[in-house]
Amino acid sequence: MIENRPLSPHLSIHKKVLTSVFSIFHRITGIGLSVGSILITLWVTLLGLGPKYFFIFEFFSSTFLFKLVLFLWTIGIFYHLFNGVRYLFWTYGIGMELKTVYNSSYIVVILTIVSTCLIWLSAL
């Protein structure tokens, strides 16, 4: 690998088109979900440590902030999941025509909203 190579992609230079916005959000949700995986690890660690330590999780899980983070995590995981499936198709060169790319973007948004709503409605 060439060291000190130019940065790519140039976020502030390119005009924001739908494909680039989806790509940027895929990365943002990816970072968010990576942080989320740390929280899942802490959750299972507290569970493994026993009820005395699991109380810490139970205390935080009752707060509004926790519910908000969980809601954002649900949106993030569904968006990343559905958009990731689209990228997997692209890996095989499927669905790369401009019209299909735009249509699949809209499908990702719709599936994300519907799935998030279904999960939260069933949780209530």
């Binding site: 992609p9 970072i31 990576s34 299972v44 990731g84």
Partner: protein
């Protein structure tokens, strides 16, 4: 010989690209399984969760999901660091930090699952 293996894994970007997609494939069904269980988890107390993880099937799926998730996350974060951090030393520190966090998280998940299975 081990140095050769480490060097192969460290600089083989094709392998990393393939692993990123393989872990993504694993995560598609596993994420749905975990999200579905998360709905049930919110009504579970410690004992009920312990019963859930006492099942080998549930523990195995959770462990498999966490390994895939943490590895997928590590590879993704490394790519982001490579794309946006131009300073060589900062890039190296960031990548090392990602690796250390991933190893610690994997260690914690393994320990927790083993403990939950032994004491259940």
């Amino acid at each position: 010989m081990p140095d050769l293996v480490v060097s192969f894994m460290k600089n083989n970007y094709v392998l990393k690209w393939v692993l990123q997609r393989v872990t993504a494939l694993f995560l598609i069904p596993l994420s749905f399984w975990f999200i579905y269980n998360c709905i049930c988890f919110q009504n579970y107390n410690h004992q009920e969760l312990q019963i859930f993880f006492s099942s080998f099937f549930n523990s195995f799926l959770f462990l498999f999901m966490m390994v895939s998730m943490l590895w997928h996350g590590k590879l993704g974060c490394e790519t982001i660091v490579q794309d946006y951090v131009s300073n060589f030393s900062l890039r190296k520190i960031s990548k090392n930090l990602i690796n250390i966090i991933t190893i610690i998280m994997l260690f914690l998940v393994f320990l927790a699952i083993i403990k939950l299975n032994i004491y259940s």
